[in-house]
Amino acid sequence: MTAIASLLGVAAGGWAVGKGITNQIILPLGLPDLLFHLRLDPLSGFFLVVIGLLAFFVSIYSLGYVKGFLVHRSITSLVIFYCLFLAGMFMVVLADDALFFLISWEVMAAASYFLVMFEDEKIENRRAAFLYMIVAHVGAIAILLSFGVLAGLTTGFQGFSGYTFDAMRATSFPLGWATAAFLLAFFGFAAKAGVIPLHVWLPEAHPVAPSNISALMSGVMLKTAIYGIIRVAFDLIKVFPWWWGSIVLIFGLVSAVMGVLYALMQHDLKRLLAYHSVENIGIILIGIGLSMIFTSFHMPLLAALALTAGLFHTMNHAMFKGLLFMGAGAVLQATHERNMEEMGGLIHKMPWTAAFFLVGCISISALPPFNGFISEWLTFQAFLLSPSLPSPLLNLLIPMGAALLALTGALAAACFVKAFGVTFLGHWRGHHNPNVHEAGWPMRIGMMLSALTCLGLGVLPTLFIEWMDVISEQLVGAKIATSATGLGWMWLTPIAHERASYSGPIVFVGILAVVLIAYILLHSRPAAIHRVPIWDCGFEKINQRMQYNATSFAMPIRRIFGFLFSIKEQVRFVSLFGHKAFPKKLHYHLRIRDLFWGWLYKPVVDVSFWISRKVGRLQQGRIQVYLIYSFVTIIILLVFLG
């Protein structure tokens, strides 16, 4: 059912973007003076496609996945909230007035909250869900205020018409208020998107949710926040100074780098993926931030390039992160284990899942010929074009951002070598050998479809970019020229042929061809393959505990970037003869925490409770004291007025 609905969403979105038209509908719901306004324009159409496509895949996947739950619990609530969640996301991108937007927004948040809490007997689920809810709600209030500012400045505030996006579009805002609105909106959306330092809920909530839900949350729910930022900045406010873009850019960069570094330190597979969402949201924001900078300097072409990069990455991230979470779900279902330290060698038992997961890994590591590379490449191109900006300071600083992005990409690759290597390759690391089996067909189909989409987007990006060009045309007023020549679909040339180009099909076909040729040549002569045990360097039989695991893999990077984490490392000796030289047993304990807990969240919580204790003293039990309150209040008021 949901699959069909999602397909409808895809169709509608694809149609809207393809035709570049705008539809508006007003539903007879809501406040009588403020009916629910719906609007389908290319931007929302694009996001509709993103959401719908992944939702379609995930819905197929879920058919198989939820069977795992059926054994020991009812899934009614899962199904209900799943549908609500999808509906919420669709409504968010379609909403065209502040009230309806926020309602959809919170329906989405609430539904996902219940989904995170689906397995509510586990304490970590409850904790994660709670944290998620808090951050989401605080973010929502900020968005609400932002709309409040915007609506307050529109002409129709005395009535209710000021709340519609149309009224906001028609108003040009004074800079100070617009800035307040933008910052509030950015804060709110950033909380949803998991931008550092508002990301803490994300690595808690995504791992504990059912995997199909993680896929949707990470793949598309975060994107609604991106949609919000674009909508507010480009569509509602329209004119802004360059430093807004810089703010977005800086937060994007920090999120990208920190996200991937934290991801590297994880040994919980889904948690690792969750941190990667932080990273990828960062990359998307980089694109958007650059686009905003270019827009404020009136360089529509470059702005279009950067915006396309950001949007393209949005699409890509939805696809590969959905794929990865689905893969992780398949692994979770097969092994009942999220800890990578207890996995290994799954490629033999789950060949399909392994292959699809590998596709996801390559895509997210931004390696050609898959889709992740295209968007990152476009982002780099946008970076490289920044020297044409008329501001010397930006000229000097923005390239550093490019370097950080490069660092992010490389670290992501490292991280996914770790993730894939430790999970699927090598030997089983766990203590007991579970009965692992391949995922069922619906799950495989779901994963396969998104894997194919990843490949398709990577090989033929030009077609996709041409299709979505209309968005940037509407928002920043320019298209990026992709099809300069007759064979335009082959070459991706964002600005000009001389500037830079990339050809997905040739890379794909080229690699494939050379590999095939080499393979055929080498196999023309039969050669035996001997299967032997692993070479043990002449020592005793090596066992599976000697393998590199997730922690040891990340050790060099942990050392190098150690200052960014709060790390507690402990080595405890249990030694023979009471001397260190004769160790009998070594206990190694490592605890890595998110730095921002200590910096940002714990103080807030502590201060709240401190204030709460102080405030509690008001209610101090004795009636005379209460009477004194009344007495003093009245005296003060009398003095004040009299």
């Binding site: 009588p32 926020l102 709670f130 209030i141 609400l144 307040a180 509690g616 009636i623 007025l641």
Partner: protein, 482 residues
């Protein structure tokens, strides 16, 4: 005519219930009486809706858009509460918390309380308004101490004394009001009629009125439960029987706020300034913040929701103080949805504590699995009360917040702080209660379905689709309060 029925039915029911005592069918009579009241309320509302504001009983009663909607609300919530209390109080009797005499007392006083509130809302006379308010207090004081535990008596005593003092101060304010009005309207009953006062509010002496407002504010503010004169509220709500907490929280506070708003209109009309509004905003803001932070450290479930009521009354007071069409609209809506939601929450809370034999939140667990209606009801109730869409509270908070952003942007951070903290505090407590496995000491319970579902459905509907008549009512009320 419906007006007369509306008032006489509860009074009559109170007398009947006092006489028949604790019979088997007493709860049903209670429900019947409330239902009749509600029907009368509806027909009155229809009449007003069709014909506009009206005077009745020789100018003694006055009905306009503002109070008729509150009257309907009052009769509605009292009806659902009566339905709820049937099952709830039966359980309490089985558990031996209350005896037959107290049951008789409970039923009679419940109806008397409803009568007092309706009188309070419908009267045209500011003095009678005061009397009815005092009657409402007095009729509930002994209900709060119904269980006769030390803490219940303590709570009731505090309620009695603090509200008594508060209301006395309000009387002083009323005297001053009369003092000013008498000059313009002449001595006698005419000078205390709200309809007359509002017409001549521009001519009333500003100094006297602002003096009067201080007393009215502190007096009725005590009843509304505004910080710093709120101290009776958490005690009374947590120690009384749950149906009483529901009506106290859902209705009495509204009625007190109604009185306050009526006075504010007069005062601002007279002084031509916004001082009264400013004072209300100050009280509101203080209530929001103090209540929000107090929520953080609650252990008793009913006490926690009592603080939540303080917070929401703070919001409504703040919005009325802010003024302007959108804020006032939001405040009216807020009164409506808060009262529906909060009483629904108290219904579920009552059942929850019966299921676990305690009001300690640490001991309440696994409600959704134990009793889905109670569990989900509490969950959704809390989601609604903290302002999650699509429930109606969100709509009102949305309007209030955006209006604040427009008119007093510097205050929004405080509002935001309060909302955020309250949200976190409530969720932190409620989530462990509704989720998780069922504890061994939980007992199954037949819960009262209808009231909870009815309330939540209404709140939901108002959030998604507000009927046109409600909207028009609010708009008329907004006009009145300008």
């Amino acid at each position: 005519m419906p007006l007369l029925i509306l008032l006489s039915v509860p009074l009559f029911a109170a007398i009947v219930l006092a006489f028949i005592g604790d019979r088997k069918y007493a709860p049903e009579i209670n429900i019947l009486g409330s239902a009749a009241t509600f029907a009368a309320g509806i027909s009155l509302a229809l009449e007003v809706y069709v014909e506009g504001p009206m005077l009745a009983g020789g100018k003694f009663f006055f009905v306009d858009a503002f109070n008729v909607y509150l009257a309907v609300l009052t009769s509605f919530v009292s009806m659902t509460t009566a339905i709820f209390s049937r099952r709830y109080m039966r359980k309490e009797r089985q558990d031996g918390h209350v005896g037959p005499i107290r049951m008789r007392f409970y039923h009679a006083m419940f109806q008397l309380f409803i009568f007092a509130m309706l009188l309070c809302l419908l009267t045209n006379n500011v003095g009678v308004l005061w009397i009815a308010m005092e009657l409402a207090t007095l009729s509930t004081v002994l209900l709060v101490s119904l269980y006769r535990t030390p803490s219940a008596i303590e709570a009731a005593w505090k309620y009695f004394i603090l509200c008594g003092v508060g209301i006395a101060l309000a009387l002083f304010g009323t005297v001053l009001l009369y003092f000013a009005a008498e000059k313009v309207l002449g001595a006698g009953g005419e000078a205390l009629l709200w309809t007359n006062l509002s017409q001549v509010s521009g001519k009333l002496e500003p100094t006297v009125l602002s003096l009067a407002f201080v007393f009215l504010m502190v007096g009725y503010g005590t009843k509304v439960g505004l910080v710093p004169v709120h101290n009776w509220l958490p005690d009374a709500h947590s120690e009384g029987p749950t149906p009483i907490s529901a009506v106290l929280s859902g209705l009495l506070l509204n009625v007190a706020l109604y009185a306050l708003v009526r006075c504010k209109v007069l005062v601002d009309g007279s002084t031509g300034t916004h001082h009264a509004g400013d004072i209300m905003m100050g009280f509101g803001l203080l209530s929001i913040i103090v209540a929000a932070f107090s929520l953080l450290r609650q252990k008793d479930i009913k006490r926690m929701f009592a603080y939540s009521s303080i917070e929401h009354m703070g919001i409504a007071t703040f919005a009325f103080g802010l003024g302007g069409p959108i804020a006032t609209f939001g405040a009216l809506l807020h009164m409506l949805v808060h009262s529906l939601t909060k009483s629904a929450i108290f219904f579920t809370v009552g059942h929850a504590s019966q299921m676990h034999w305690t009001q300690e939140m640490d001991r309440i667990k696994g409600l959704i699995k134990g009793n889905p209606l109670v569990g989900w009801g509490l969950m959704f109730g809390v989601m609604a009360i903290v302002g999650m869409p699509p429930f109606g509270v969100f709509t009102s908070e949305f309007l209030i917040l955006t209006a604040t952003m427009k008119d007093a942007p510097l205050l929004t951070p405080f509002l935001l702080l309060g909302f955020g903290v309250a949200f976190a505090a409530l969720f932190r407590r409620v989530q462990p209660m509704v989720t998780g496995p069922v504890p061994s000491y939980q007992r199954p319970l037949k819960a009262a379905h209808i009231p909870v579902m009815l309330h939540m459905a209404l709140v939901l509907v108002i959030g998604i689709y507000m009927p046109d008549f409600l909207n028009r009512w609010f708009h008329t009320a907004v006009e009145l309060l300008k």
